[in-house]
Amino acid sequence: MKFSDRIQKVDRRIIYMILLLAVVLPLVFRIGFKTYTTTPVEDLYRHIDAAAGRDDMSILMDFTHDPGVLPELYPMDLAILRHCFERNIKVFTISFLPQGAAIIQMALSEVKEDYPNIEANVDYCNFGFKPWSTKLPIMLGMGDDIAEAVETNSEGLKLENLPIMQNMKNYDNIQVVVEISGSSMGQFWVTYARAKFGVDVAVGLTAVMAADVYPYLQSGQFVGSLGGLKGAAEYEQLVDIFAMNDEEFSKKKARDIKWVAAQYKELPAIAKLYKYNKARIGMDAQAVVHVLIIFFIVLGNIGYFLDQRAQKKNK
């Protein structure tokens, strides 16, 4: 067989084998491709970061998702919580699905390990699971009084007595509601909380759902969004370079490759933990596979090109 034929007809089993390696190896050995941030993610980061160090501002994270979508959404949960704990941003967590309550617990305890000074009900407060049917009364009620609408936290304690609630009254004290879900729950927040009380809403979604939010982003009803693993990877990156170094966020800097690379050298060990790199590692595998497919296409075309030339010569 001629060389040009050979590279045009690589056995499919070989292709499959190489592809398998291309997926598995980056998951095992970190490559560390650079992540480039996009505007919706930057907007969300900046929005959350604006509440840093304030005791009268908080963010509300709604974990209305179930374990089925964890691979895509859990890195987001971790990244946002880490951002908040790193920058001293008060966090409320809530879920309208019973499975979501367990995910909140899991995420909180996983991030809290690295932040021993963060205290429950002082720096964050977990509202826990609230039945689906109470979603509207709670969404609307928080416009008036959070403590009254939510009543108790996950431990059954009355909210009004908790230290974190001392300066928190209603949506005016919520910088942004971040809805992390595989459904269109974010639109509920827009319809009820945003339209009525003007609170900012942002979403973290699975990649499949991500395309649906563009109209909302364009109309400004969502202040930002994280789309799938890619969005999570970008957020991880922003937390690394800005939150970890106490830097002021700026879009220009976030896009400046050299500057970001320089920041990367100075990051402490905590930023290198697997749990805070999950999404980026996943994206590495994805990038490698894309390049590999391109490589195969190019390879096939070289063979084709050589063939054509040979044929022309023969004529």
């Binding site: 900046r46 929005h47 604006a50 367990a102 617990q105 431990e155 364009q218 109309s219």
Partner: protein, 934 residues
């Protein structure tokens, strides 16, 4: 192949082993739930108890907690469950279940017989006292009804026309030995006629609860301790807000308050005035609107205060103090404020201006269950402002609130002297304006509206927003600091109130923010009646309810004017009253005492009124002889009146500064507005025209084709190749595979695929080639079988038809693919057809097909799967070509005609698109607006 079957058996045994082992490896569920407590729900109507208990540890792998309730400790019925994630368990220390409000009790689909809950060990208490849900056996649920509050939900039609009248006579023996007999006529129905029955706990009664937990193996824990709790009707909770305002020039007081959490057993709100000497005077009561939300504010004119408190003097207003009390049905009252509050004394200049053009209209193009409530001029708000880093380019995201009176066609925005007109309202506009971000800036917006003969927008009507930059948050903040115009708007919101024609209290319909201009009120069709506390008759297996139906608010004296549903009952009633009147008249003749005479006369008048003074509709109905016709008339009146509403809007700041619009009166003078159903959806007019044009085109083209006119149709390679592909399979002596898509028969693509199948199968039969048709949908299966069978008959080869060649694989998407791929590999099919609807599995099939070296022809209208088909198949029918294929193959004039019509229709659409694009580009949007948005 023996190896193969042996391997299969081995695999199965292994599976069974796995299944059995997986179910033995969990910690035994042998501990009962502990710490069960039952507590009364505070401030409620005495119909709620809260259960709390300690969850079992995570290792127990519990998946749900089941709750049982009874009114004696020896029979507890299943009432609900709390599902738990087995892996994560419950993190909190306690779990809660609130048994409150109306919950499901029994209906015709409930289990037939009383059944013990299984799972509990024999001989334990749990095995004896636990029952599953309440059965539909009246012997069981009938006596239970005495121990709960009962609400029966009855479908209207059943209640109106299919009940059984029966008279019940009750005998009460008095203390003095005399006997009172009362007879009541009730309407009887069987359980199957009812929608369902609901229950609620009774006040002051003891209920027993127990809990058991279910683990992943579905084994239940031992029953927890049986714990009881008693419901109590507590006094209502304190209202959080109460404001009093005296508007001196309007000579009225305005009050505003908040609602409590529990409104179920609210009776009324009482407002008290405390005078200089701290004496309490009741000056106003507001009845509840149960089951709806009542008004939370009131206007009390000085005159009406003076009527209740004679010494009232507005000059002393500054000495007066006010308080509000919430009173429940047991007449327990709780005052909102510990110390009464003084009134804020203002003049009406401080009050907001009422919204203009308040209108209520029937919503067009609906099924008759919506009313439009709207008011005011259009509003635009800013949802987001984004500057670029250099502060030279601003992206404005805006939104528009409008109503059907002023439909906005253009928005004109001005920033810093730069004006831009938005012709297509897509909520986004870019400005090139420099900004020194330390200074706030202004956006002014004005509107161009569709003119519909109403008074035009005032020329100077514009809304100005202010925005500033927060360097700390790095974002543009809107309406901060607010300008005067916005300040005036932002503080207020609108409350829509409505009342129907069978009621006397306004109820709250909706709160609208200052940005909103329209509200569509959903007025659902009435399809059920609610009746409480039924009697039951075990022999007849019937439940009996009150026979009265509310008809209309009559002269405001009888807001809930009711009529008996049986004519006989009405006659009987009338006779009784007439007898009573006759008796009274006799009495009148013998009485001499003036006062007594007056009393009797009054009674006679009121009795006469009761039988004579009736709403016209009722009189008319009662004249009818047949019960059924009478009922029909009354029921129509009942439905119309219950669904006709009067509306008004209150603009308020929540602090007692509010103003009302007058009640809306339609141009025909009617105040009650009834939602009408529509018989044609005007939004679809363009669609209708398009359909008609298309149908006409089809008609003419078919006619032309029949006349023998030759219609040219573009050749499609994929279709032309079908014959060759079948021929190839014949030559190779291998079968053909035909997949008619994965979706069901309701998908047009499947039908198109099946149409192609009939052609392919016929050809295959002629050539005597086997055709395999795997199906995923079991409704498609028999149709495909029939098609292939007929094809063989037609080809004259009925003997070669094999029923097993068209078969069902599975419904599971990817399992189906696995099956199809297996067939391709084992049967070495020479030609594969994929015709119909495909999803993510498309490439999995075609790639395998291409690996086996088959010729593949695909056709689908799934746009996202087309690339996969094109890359892996030899020929692909793209979108409409799939639908055209059967026409090509049959070459019938009828079918060719439709194809040609399709082409002309497409031409028309393309012309329309081009016209629309050109016109919109030069800012002529009228053409675009003709077409519905959806």
């Amino acid at each position: 192949m023996k190896v193969c079957s042996k391997f299969g058996l081995l695999l199965l045994m292994f599976t069974l082993l796995l299944v059995s082992s997986a179910f033995g490896a969990i910690v035994p569920n042998n501990e009962a739930v502990e710490g069960l407590k039952v507590e009364n729900v505070p401030h409620d109507d005495g119909g709620g108890l809260t259960l709390s208990w300690k969850p079992l540890p995570k290792e127990k792998r519990i998946i749900e907690y089941r709750i049982y309730r009874g009114y004696t400790p020896d029979s507890l019925f299943y009432i609900g469950r709390i599902p738990v994630d087995a892996k994560t368990g419950v993190a909190a220390d306690t779990m809660k279940y609130v048994d409150q409000g109306w919950t499901f009790f029994v209906d015709a689909t409930s289990r037939a017989k009383l059944k013990h809950e299984k799972g509990q060990k024999k001989g334990t208490k749990g095995a004896e006292v636990l029952f599953r849900t309440v059965p539909r056996d009246m012997k069981v649920y009938g006596p239970m009804m005495d121990h709960y509050r009962i609400l029966v939900v009855i479908p209207d039609k059943e209640y109106m026309y299919h009940t059984k009248m029966r008279e019940f006579t009750d005998i009460d023996s008095n203390e003095d030995g005399t006997v009172d007999t009362t007879s009541t006529i009730l309407a009887g129905m069987k359980l199957e006629q009812l929608k369902y029955i609901l229950t609620k706990l009774k006040v002051g009664k003891e209920y027993y609860y127990a809990i058991q937990a279910l683990n992943m193996n579905r084994s239940v824990s031992p029953l927890s301790e049986i714990v009881s709790g008693k419901t109590t009707d507590d006094p209502p909770e304190k209202l959080k807000k109460f404001c009093a305002v005296a508007v001196s020039d309007k000579k009225q007081m305005q009050f505003e308050w908040s609602l409590p959490v529990f409104t179920d057993d609210q009776k009324q709100f009482n407002i008290y005035l405390y005078d200089e000497f701290d004496d309490q005077h009741l000056i106003f009561t507001r009845p509840d609107a149960y089951p709806y939300t009542p008004q939370t504010n009131a206007i009390v004119p000085y005159d009406s205060i003076a009527a209740r408190f004679e010494a009232f003097n507005p000059a002393n207003m500054k000495w007066y103090r006010f308080n509000i009390g919430e009173q429940d049905r047991k007449d327990q009252e709780t005052l909102a404020k510990d110390e009464p509050i003084p009134a804020e004394i203002i003049t009406s200049a401080i009050l907001p201006k009422p919204p203009i053009h308040f209108t209520v209209k029937d919503q067009p193009n609906d099924k008759g269950d919506q009313l439009q409530v709207f008011f005011g001029y259009p509003y635009y708000g800013l949802s987001k402002l984004t500057y670029n880093d250099a502060f030279t380019k601003l992206t404005v995201n805006y939104f528009i609130s409008e109503n059907s009176m002023y439909e906005v066609t253009r928005l004109i925005l001005t920033i810093n002297g730069k004006t831009k007109t938005e012709y297509v309202l897509d909520n986004k506009l870019d400005f090139n304006v420099d900004w020194d971000y330390e200074m706030p800036m202004e956006i002014k917006g004005s509107f161009v509206c569709k003119h519909k003969g109403q008074e035009p927008l005032p020329e100077d009507y514009a809304i100005t927003h202010t925005f500033s930059f927060d360097p700390e948050m790095q974002v543009v903040i809107i309406d901060y600091p607010p300008n005067e115009q916005m300040k005036e708007q932002m503080d207020y919101y609108y409350q829509v109130y409505k009342i129907n024609h069978t009621s006397d209290v306004y109820r709250y319909a909706k709160e609208l923010s200052f940005r909103e201009r329209e509200y569509v009120d959903k007025i659902s069709y009435e399809t059920v009646q609610f009746r409480g506390t039924p009697r039951f008759c075990l022999d007849e297996k019937r439940l009996y309810f009150s026979t009265y139906l509310s008809i209309v608010n009559y002269k405001d004296q009888y807001p809930f004017y009711t009529q008996a549903i049986y004519l006989d009952q009405l006659k009987q009633q009338d006779e009784e009253i007439r007898a009573e009147i006759a008796e009274l008249q006799k009495e009148l003749e013998t009485t001499t005492d003036k006062q007594e005479i007056e009393k009797i006369e009054n009674r006679i008048i009121s009795y006469t009124d009761y039988i004579e003074d009736k709403p016209e509709i009722v009189k008319e109905a009662n004249r009818l002889k047949s019960d059924k016709e009478r009922m029909k008339m009354l029921y129509t009146a009942h439905c119309t009146n219950k669904r006709s509403f009067k509306y008004y809007i209150r603009k308020t700041d929540g602090q007692g500064h509010f103003i009302d619009t007058p009640i809306y009166t339609a141009p025909n003078g009617e105040q009650y507005i009834f939602p009408k159903q529509n018989w044609f959806n005007t939004d679809e007019i363009i669609t209708l025209i398009a359909v008609l044009v298309f149908a006409a085109l089809v008609f003419f083209m078919i006619k032309a084709a029949r006349k023998g006119k030759r219609l040219y149709i573009r050749p499609i390679a994929g279709i032309q190749e079908i014959d060759n592909a079948i021929g190839r399979a014949t030559e190779m002596g291998r079968p053909i595979l035909f997949v008619p898509g994965l979706s069901g028969i309701s998908d047009v693509a499947t039908l198109a695929g099946l149409a192609i199948l009939s052609k392919v199968a016929k050809k295959a039969a002629e050539y005597d080639t086997r055709i395999l048709v795997p199906c995923r949908d079991f409704i498609v299966l028999p149709i495909a079988q029939e098609i292939v069978k007929e094809a063989h008959y037609e080809a004259g080869r009925p003997d070669t038809y094999d029923k097993n060649s068209v078969f069902f694989i599975t419904q599971a998407q990817f399992a189906f693919v696995a099956g199809v791929n297996g067939i391709m590999i084992r049967e070495k099919t020479a030609t594969n057809f994929y015709m119909g609807m495909f999803w993510a599995e498309s490439l999995l099939m075609t790639e395998t097909g291409s690996a086996t070296g088959a010729i593949q022809i695909a056709g689908t209208d799934a746009v996202n799967q087309l690339p996969f088909f094109i890359t892996t198949c030899d020929y692909t029918l793209i979108g409409e070509e799939l639908y055209a294929a059967s026409a090509y193959l049959s070459k019938q004039p009828l079918i060719l005609g439709t194809l040609k019509a399709q082409d002309y229709m497409k031409l028309l659409i393309v012309i329309t698109v081009i016209i629309g694009t050109v016109l919109s580009t030069v800012h002529l949007t009228f053409f675009m607006n003709w077409f519905p948005a959806k």
